[in-house]
Every structure is written in C-alpha cells, then in structure tokens.
C-alpha cells in the first residue's frame, strides 16, 4: 500500500508540474535547477567561495527579496488606498486605526527603508571586492541605475500618506528641480530661454512643474507620484532587474579571483 505522499508524487497532476523526481541525488539536483522556472535564474553549480556569506553578504539577494515584499504588500495596500486629497490621509488613518491588515503599511514602509540600506550595502560590497571590473563594467552601470530607481521609488512613496511629513519632505526635495540650470524657474540661465522678451521657463513650465504636475505639491502631484510609485518605476525596475540578473550569469557568475 503506497503512502499518501507516494500517491501524490505519482499522480498525473504532480508529474505535470514537477518533471523529475525529488532533488535528492546529484542528477536530480541538477535537473531541478534547469527545469524549474524560479530556480533557473541560478547556474547549476557555483564556486563554493563565491556564495560564502562573508564574501557576498547576500545583500543583492536580500534587496531583491525586499523588492518582492514591497511589490506584494504594495499591491495589497492599493486595495485600501485612494490617491486623492479627500481620501489619501483618511485611508492611511484607517489602515492605522481600523483595518486588520494595517500592519501591511508598517511592513511596506520598513521594507522600503531596509531596501535603500541593503542596496547601498550591496553596492559597497561590489565595490570593495572590485567586482565592477571587466567583464562586469556594464552590470555595475545597470546597478547604479537600479540604485537611483530604488531611491526614486522610496521618494515617490514618501508622499502617499499625505501627512505633514510627506508633503514637506517632497516639497524640500522637489524644490531642487526649481533650481535646475536653464530648466528651472529659479535656476541660473533660465532667463536666457526667452522668445521676444517672454520667458519660456516660468514656475508653470519648468522642471519642477514637470515633476509635480503643478506649481506646488498638490493633488496632481499625488496622482503623478502614485502612478510613478505603483506602475512606472516598478516596471522599469523589473526590466532592469532582469537585465541585471541575466548579465550576472553572462558575465561569468558571482565574481571571484581570476
């Protein structure tokens, strides 16, 4: 009489999902990495030294995992949140005081802070081991863009609770765009861009206006940052992450002494 687990593992359903026996011997441990969608990100074998925690700190992996946590908690939070002046703050208040899933907001916020830190630590480790050197130069560049996008993700998300902390942090940050040389209304050289004595760069047409969708942080900004935070930047990050991981493999795997 076969046990229940034997029965399941011999069923057509199980076998259609997992095309090979359990990874308990060498052959199947190789096959599992090659045939499983989630595992095929990895090579089949790696240098033992390359995955030593004292060497990699696991910070790239942790950053990716935090990105996934942010994606999942973020989608769930979207069910509870409306990015309008009328509702944004009230919805967060409800998450804090009423909703039983309110802890999602804590996980999401602390996960975001943690992600900024781990992405720095990852870059720190990659620099200190000289892992940006040939043939990995381009992947370092992709990594720098991902670092920037991580900061922008955090920055755009900072506004969404629509409390004093949020709008003033974003005001201070986005005021910098006003000072953009040539493109900001308070930046050097902006008065040079004029046609027939009429300035092209004003507070209603400059870089900050483009960022905020208004002259100051308002409802347009909330909508704009919400879309950037939930759709545009995550999409860009996903694409670049795919390239980043792909290039890790193509550039010779986890770095190590030549």
């Amino acid at each position: 009489m076969p046990s229940l687990s034997e029965h399941i593992k011999n069923s057509q359903i199980w076998k259609s999902i997992f095309r090979h026996p359990m990874p308990v011997d060498r052959r199947n441990r190789i096959v599992v990495v090659l045939t499983n969608f989630f595992l095929h990100l990895h090579p089949v074998s790696v240098k033992k030294q390359g995955i030593a925690l004292s060497y990699t700190w696991c910070m790239g992996g942790v950053t990716f995992f935090l990105f996934l946590v942010e994606a999942v908690t973020g989608v769930l939070l979207m069910f509870y949140y409306r990015p309008t002046l009328e509702w944004a703050f009230k919805d967060i208040l409800e998450l804090r005081d009423v909703s039983s899933m309110g802890i999602l907001r804590e996980i999401h916020r602390w996960g975001a802070h943690a992600m900024v830190i781990t992405v720095w630590l990852h870059m720190y480790r990659v620099f200190l081991t000289g892992s940006y050197k040939p043939p990995r130069e381009f992947n370092w560049v992709v990594g720098v863009i991902l670092l920037l996008l991580t900061l922008l993700l955090s920055f755009t998300g900072y506004l969404l609770p629509w409390d004093q902390l949020a709008i003033w942090a974003i005001s201070v940050g986005s005021n910098m765009a006003k000072a953009h040389p040539f493109l900001g209304s308070a930046g050097p050289g902006s008065s040079l861009l004029s046609v027939g004595g009429i300035n092209l760069i004003t507070s209603a047409s400059d870089a900050r206006y483009g960022l905020l969708g208004a002259r100051f942080v308002g409802e347009e900004t909330l909508n704009r940052f919400y879309i950037l935070h939930c759709i545009a930047i995550p999409l860009a990050v996903s694409l670049l992450l795919a390239i980043h991981f792909w290039r890790v493999r193509k550039d010779g795997g986890i770095s190590g002494p030549l």
Binding site: L39, I51, C58, L93, V144, F155, L165, W168, M176
Partner: protein, 464 residues
C-alpha cells in the same frame, strides 16, 4: 507634551531592558561558540585556515563575563527608576561637556573633523582594529554607548523618531560590514606580501546550487521576513498631522537618504547641491569601471592593491555621503541650525551669519575700493560685463582650478595615471575628483574665512 525625567525613563526602560538582554545573549552565544571552538581544538590538528589559538578559553571567559554584566544591567534598565538606572545612565558631566563642545557655531566643524579623524584613525590602524578581540570590544562599546545615550531625553527623542530608526541600524550595519570587508582585505594583503593567493582563491571547489545556495537563500528570506514582521509589530509607521501647505514644519527635511545633499545646501546653492551634484554623483558612479584601469583586486577583498580607488570611494561614501546624512538627520534642528546630540532643539537658537563673498574680500578688504557696479541705465550686455568684472577673482580661481590643476596633476602625482588612461579618460577622472573635492574645500573656506560665495551672481541666480 513634556515628560518629567521619571516618566521619560519609564518610557525607554522597556526598550533598554530588552536591549541589554540582547547584548547579554549576544555575548553568551559568543562565549559558547568560542568554548566549542576550544573544545574542538583538543581533537583536531591545526590547519592553515584554523591555526592553533591558545587564548580561546580566555576569550570565551571574557565574553561570558560581558554576558553576566549585561544580564545584570538588563533588570536595572527594566526597573525604570532613576536610582536603579543611575549606573547605566549618561552622567551629567558628559551631557554638559558635549553640549559645551558643540555650543556656538563650531558644531559642524567639530563634527566633520571628528568623523573624518575617526575614520582616518580606523583606516590607518586597520591592522589593529580588525583583530577579532579588538573589534568585539569596539562593537560592544558602540552598542553600550547607544544604550547609555538613550537615557538622555533629547538624544532619545531624535533617535526614536520612527523614520530615524533605520538610520541608526544603518550606522551599525555599515560598521559591521566595513569591519567584515576590512578584516578579509587585511588578511589578503598579508598573504599577498608572502606571495600567496587571496583567501577567496583557496576554495575553488564547485558545489551544486541545490541544496547549498538555495537553502542559504531560503534561510535569508525567512530571516528577513522575521525581522520585518518583528520591526513592523514593535515600531508603528509615522503619521503626522494631515498635509497643510500653509503650515511649514521647522525643520523641513527631505527623506533621510537625501539629507547629505540637503546638508550641502548650507555651502552651495540648490542648482549645484541639489541638481548638478546628484547628477555628477550618479554619472561618476557609472564611470568608475571605465576609469579604474587597475586590473588587481578583481573579485576579492584588498586595500593595498587598489589603495587609490579604495580611499577615493570611501571618502565619497563614508565621509561625504553617510557622515553628512547622520549630521543632517540627527544634528540639524530648527532653521537647519546645528544641535549637539544631547541639546534640546530650540526654535529660537540664533547663530550669527556674517558670511562674506570672495568679491567683497577682494575689492573691499584687499584693494580698499568699492565693488565695481554697473551704472543704473546701461544695457543687459554691459551689466553682465560689470558683473563678470566684479566676480573676476572667483571666476579666474575656479577656471584655474578646473583647467590648470589637471595638467599639473598629470605631470606630477598622477603621471602614471595619465600615461595609462590617455587624455580624455584622465580629464574625466580629474574633473570628477576636483568636483568631489569642491565640497570639503568650500566647507573649510566657510569655516575658516566665513566665505559665502566664490562667485556671487545673484542677479543671474548663478551663485557658486
């Protein structure tokens, strides 16, 4: 809301009790681990990777001693009473001393000098500081310092702000990982001197991803999830008053990771500190692999084999980025004034500002004549001419800085760089280095001469 001292101690006692308990546990685990190692030594012959260590027993005992000390401190902290907590409280003379040091307008000078000095000492003495015993003592001292400072209400109120907690964590994580990297770099550098390959090369064995890597990843994921959930349960996400465009908080701060840049606004106008500098930082980071021609140090920890790259990066990251984030977060209060770590954030603190432009120095103080000024009825071109004439000293100085220094560097200290990199790559490297150096240069000029702008062109919004 103002708490009395007793109420304040009550409010932090729970955290401190747990903190000391965790410290005790940490040392207990270390003692057990070392004791196990000592036991194992009796049975196994020493190898190159695990040389004989006759002091393991003593080290284990030392950790045990610390564990006992912390275990005694823990209930003291839990008590929450002023008398019981006296031995683990910040002594008043320390508070007064630090407040005295940071009073006046010297705060940022002192803070920056001390941090750079500390990092320099750690770097130069790295062989000493990476030794496990030294590192463990320093680590314990750092943690105890935090706990002791937490008994000061002003310190606690800033550190305990929910959004500041991650920055405290970051400081300790950075300390730990910098130690971890430096310890391996020092070992590798010692091995290189003996003609040996780096430690990373010893273990060339290939292993299968399943199970070794997959399980490490799984454990990491579980650990991170646990940490996040615990953090989320213990610490509530901040939510302040509803947004009000008419009520500007004082201080108004950008998100914490941009506070290094916000700190630079003290020294440079927004167009440079807030736009050009970030763009240069991102561009400069991207350029690193194409500027660093040194083939050594690829894929292993080392300092000696890439000293220039190492020191430059650490100066940019640890000094200019991290140190100033800490300054901007913890030590900048209302009106962006500097406050010592134990000082109360006083909205009415007045710091005299008597900063002077370079053109003022040049024309008025040195030549003893008024600054050139365009007559009121000239055209735009003539006004620009007068403005440039007025600011000529600063313009020439800056032009010289960016055009004369690179060739001088290329023929002296950076001669090898220039030969290996070629003109274009060298000029990019030199420009990036000179741009980076502008930050400390302007700070020192401000501190020593009260220099406001090197080039002051407020009529064109182009102050520098």
């Amino acid at each position: 809301m103002h708490l009395s001292h007793e109420e304040f101690l009550q409010s932090v006692s729970g955290f401190l009790g747990m903190f000391y308990l965790a410290l005790g546990l940490m040392n207990g685990v270390a003692a057990y681990y070392l004791w196990q190692l000592a036991e194992a030594q009796h049975h196994h012959a020493p190898t190159a990777e695990h040389p004989q260590d006759s002091h393991l027993g003593n080290k284990s005992f030392g950790c045990l001693f610390l564990a006992v000390v912390f275990s005694i401190m823990s209930p003291l902290a839990f008590s929450g009473s002023a008398t019981m907590m006296a031995p683990i409280s910040l002594p008043q003379f320390m508070v007064d001393g630090v407040n005295y040091l940071f009073a006046g307008s010297l705060g940022p000078v002192l803070y920056s000098t001390l941090s750079v000095g500390l990092l320099a000492v750690l770097f130069l003495g790295r062989r000493f500081f990476v030794r496990p015993v030294v590192a463990w003592i320093v680590w314990n001292c750092m943690l105890v310092l935090l706990a002791v400072c937490m008994t000061n209400p002003n310190f606690a109120s800033i550190v305990m702000k929910p959004d500041n907690v991650p920055i405290v964590a970051m400081v300790y994580l950075l300390a730990f990982f910098t130690w971890l990297a430096t310890a391996q770099a020092v070992k590798n550098d010692d091995r290189a001197k003996d003609g040996l390959p780096p430690l990373e090369k010893l273990d060339d064995e290939k292993i299968l991803v399943w199970p070794d890597l997959v399980y490490t990843e799984l454990i990491c994921m579980v650990a991170i999830t646990a940490v996040l959930i615990l953090w989320a349960v213990v610490l509530k996400a901040p939510l302040e008053e509803p947004a009000d465009a008419a009520k500007t908080p004082n201080p108004s701060k950008a998100p914490w990771y941009f506070l290094g840049l916000q700190e630079m606004l003290v020294y440079y106008d927004p167009w440079f500190a807030g736009v050009v500098a970030p763009l240069v930082i991102v561009g400069g980071l991207m350029a690193i692999p194409y500027l660093d021609f040194n083939k050594l140090g690829n894929g292993y920890y080392t300092i000696d084999q890439r000293k220039f790259a190492y020191v430059t990066f650490q100066f940019g990251f640890l000094v200019l980025w991290v140190t100033f984030i800490i300054l901007g977060t913890f030590l900048r209060g209302p009106n962006w004034n500097f406050f010592g770590p134990f000082e109360q954030w006083d909205v009415h603190k007045v710091v005299p500002l008597n900063n002077v432009d370079l053109s003022e120095f040049f024309w008025v103080q040195w030549l003893g004549m008024p600054k050139p000024k365009a007559p009121p009825d000239v055209g735009a071109g003539a006004a620009l001419g007068f403005a440039i004439w007025r600011e000529l000293p600063g313009i020439l100085l800056l032009l010289g800085y960016f055009t004369l220094l690179p060739p001088i560097l290329a023929t002296t200290v950076f001669r090898k760089f220039f030969q290996k990199m070629g003109l274009i790559r060298f000029m990019i490297l030199a420009s990036l280095l000179l741009l980076m150096a502008l930050f400390p240069i302007k700070m020192v000029l401000r501190w020593s001469f009260n220099l406001k702008y090197i080039i002051a062109l407020p009529e064109y919004l182009a102050n520098f």
